[in-house]
């Protein structure tokens, strides 16, 4: 059992100390005993006295104040003892002055007060600095993109930003239509990009289809000009805007399907609702374990793709554009495909996610969906 420091006995012993630090008295038992000389005290202080002699010295020193004082002087000012002492393996809480008393000793008190001043000064400075940045903090949180812990707020902000992007896309496309000037790919793709929500690229990729569907009709003239322009550089994977380039044939087909476009707007709303739920899911969950494993396996077996000029990630799937202009799912390994044309009843019967992917990409899209290959054109 480890004993604790006894502050009561410590106090009594300290009180028993003579005022001058050592007593001027002589112990009667040592008056007729030869005192220790400097050589003996030095040897004793450095533990250099043999055992039997050391015992004799100890008995004398325990009762002789003068010799003990000389010993204390030699030990207290010994440089060798200070450097020869090995530090304890574990922190030693010296059984000396308790920590709460050390605070009130001279040097300890100064250190304590200095520390307090530093702490309070730091707190005051921090409060002053933080008080000036409150407005910036509020604006950051207003976007809703940084608050990952509040999913509802994030979803609401995304919805708002999506509406804004749709409106902005509509206004931009209208202005471009009025200008009727060939638009550079950059500008055509810039407008939706700037109105893209501030969220992550993955979220934007999921919403890309919805965004495009909502403003698709208005962007047709813009897309036409973009198609006539030089090919755009491959956009970033997380690019939220989709530079849709529809072929003229498909565009004409869509003109005939204006009613379908309205229906798709409604579907867009429904898709948005579903996408809110998907925000809470991890990317791997969205892909699905089976699909993920499948894609991993298929990636390993994937033949060397044709030289692709760009790669896109839509709906968690990676598509590469091949020489024929189509977007091919990275999971595609040449299996039999089901041909589906956009705007047909068969297309409408497809899963929403599949339709969104198809609508997010232009031209021919070959996608692996639920272990089946679809060729959507």
């Amino acid at each position: 059992m480890e004993l604790e420091f006894d502050k009561e006995i410590d106090a009594l012993l300290r009180r028993s100390r003579p005022p001058d630090g050592r007593s001027a008295s002589l112990n009667a038992a040592t008056t007729h005993v030869t005192h220790l000389d400097a050589d003996e005290i030095a040897a004793y202080s450095e533990n250099a006295v043999p055992g039997s002699t050391r015992l004799r010295f100890t008995q004398h020193l325990a009762d002789c104040d003068d010799c003990r004082s000389r010993l204390a002087f030699a030990v207290g000012h010994s440089l060798e003892t200070a450097t020869a002492v090995t530090t304890a393996v574990e922190p030693v809480d010296l059984g000396g002055v308790p920590w709460y008393r050390r605070l009130f000793s001279g040097p300890g008190l100064a250190v304590a007060f200095g520390g307090l001043i530093l702490v309070f000064g730091g707190m005051l400075g921090f409060m002053m600095l933080s008080g000036g940045g409150d407005s910036n903090v509020a604006s950051v949180f207003d976007t809703g993109a940084a608050n990952s812990t509040n999913a509802n707020a994030a979803m609401r902000s995304l919805e708002q930003s999506e509406v804004q992007s749709a409106n902005a896309a509509a206004s931009n496309s209208m202005s471009n239509t009025m200008a009727s000037a060939p638009q550079s790919p950059d500008s055509s793709s810039t407008a939706p990009r700037t109105s893209a929500p501030a969220g992550g690229g993955r979220q934007d990729a999921l919403l890309d289809g919805a965004t495009l569907n909502g403003g698709e009709a208005l962007m047709k003239p813009v897309a036409k000009a973009a198609a006539e322009a030089p090919p755009a550089p491959p956009p970033a994977v997380t690019d939220s805007t989709v530079g849709v380039t529809l072929s003229e044939a498909e565009r004409s087909e869509k003109k005939a399907d204006s009613d379908d476009a309205k229906e798709e707007v409604a579907q867009l709303q429904r898709q948005q609702n579903r996408n809110r739920d998907s925000l809470l899911m991890s990317p791997k969950q969205k892909i699905g374990p089976t699909a993920r494993n499948q894609s991993q396996n298929q990636v390993q077996n994937l033949p060397e793709p044709a030289r692709s000029r760009s790669a896109r990630t839509v709906g968690g799937k990676t598509f590469t554009r091949r020489d024929d202009g189509g977007w091919y799912d990275a999971s595609f390994t040449g299996q039999a495909m089901t041909n589906v044309r956009r705007g047909t009843e068969q297309f409408r019967k497809l899963d929403d996610g599949l339709r969104n992917i198809a609508n997010s990409l232009d031209g021919i899209v070959v996608v692996i969906w639920k272990s089946k290959a679809y060729r959507i054109q």
């Binding site: 007593s23 000389d37 005290i41 030095a42 010993l71 002087f73 010994s78």
Partner: protein, 319 residues
């Protein structure tokens, strides 16, 4: 060589030769030069208490001698000026540092250091005209720096004894002084009270405690008593005490705590058996004593802090 050392002559000679061979700088000294000093140390430290020491003990004792320091001192005694210059150059800071601990100012410390060097050099001569130098007292068992510090310390004690006006030639009175000072002080064991009965009771109580404490300390063995006094009377740190006794700092800490525990047991036993105190009285009085001693200082500082803050606030408010 004394009769005691004669029987170890062969062992001593061999050990001295081996010792000299280990010296970094023998300063042209021979084994014969070292023999008198080594034999004197042998008789002083080993054979005096152990006349039948083993030859191995003799060899180990001689091997532990600080041969370089001893050769330096012997060269100085022989009149080697280069050795003396080296001695002063190397250890003058040590002597001055120790002197400053005694003297109140640097000038007095330098004067004291100068007088010490003069004593070591041997400005005085004996009847035969030989220099009387304190260097002859260095045996080589401890380090030369430690020996010089001890020399300065000896001068310090001698100086204090000359200045002291109060010398008691009787039994140790530290603890009796405790009771006496406590009786005339209201910042210790005695409660400040106008009631003469309470004052008398407090005085008697303090005397009983002091007596019990003195008895408890006397019952300790020599090393424990020495440790206790070095710590409480001489303000040595546990680290320094541990180094002197050759054990670890943690060991010294545990030993001190155990000593406190033993003293408490002894004080309680003494108060109950000899002075007739009850358990409650013992516990209450020891607790009151510690609390009174401890709270006073801390309460004072706490009050000072609060007063300083209030003053600051008041000044700002007014201004």
């Amino acid at each position: 060589m004394s009769a005691l050392a004669e029987k170890y002559k062969t062992t001593v000679d061999e050990a001295i030769a081996h010792l000299l061979s280990r010296a970094e700088s023998s300063r042209d000294l021979t084994a014969e030069s070292l023999t008198p000093r080594v034999v004197h140390a042998l008789e002083k430290y080993l054979l005096k208490d152990n006349a039948h020491a083993e030859h191995q003990d003799i060899r180990e004792f001689i091997y532990e001698i600080r041969v370089d320091d001893l050769c330096l001192i012997l060269a100085c005694e022989r009149g080697d000026e280069a050795a003396w210059s080296e001695l002063v150059a190397t250890f003058d800071p040590t002597v001055k540092s120790a002197a400053r601990k005694i003297c109140s100012n640097a000038e007095d410390a330098d004067d004291l250091a100068g007088s010490i060097w003069a004593e070591l050099y041997g400005l005085r001569t004996d009847a035969a005209g030989n220099k009387k130098s304190k260097l002859a007292y260095y045996s080589g068992r401890g380090s030369l720096g430690g020996w010089l510090r001890a020399v300065v310390g000896q001068l310090a004690v001698d100086q204090f004894r000359k200045q002291s006006k109060f010398v008691q030639i009787e039994e140790d009175r530290e603890f009796e002084n405790l009771a006496e000072s406590a009786a005339h002080s209201d910042n210790g064991l005695v409660a400040h009270s106008d009631n003469p009965e309470d004052a008398f009771t407090a005085k008697e109580t303090s005397a009983d405690v002091a007596s019990a404490l003195a008895t408890a300390v006397r019952t300790l063995d020599a090393e424990d008593r020495l440790i206790l006094k070095l710590y409480y009377f001489d303000d040595l740190k546990l680290k320094q005490i541990a180094a002197s006794f050759g054990y670890h700092e943690a060991t010294a800490s545990r030993r001190l705590t155990r000593l406190q525990h033993d003293i408490r047991k002894a004080v309680e036993r003494e108060l109950k058996s000899r002075h007739g105190w009850t358990d409650a009285e013992v516990k209450r009085h020891l607790s009151d004593t510690a609390n009174r001693l401890g709270v006073n200082l801390e309460t004072m500082f706490a009050v000072l802090l609060v007063a300083a803050f209030l003053q600051e606030i008041a000044v700002k408010t007014v201004l």
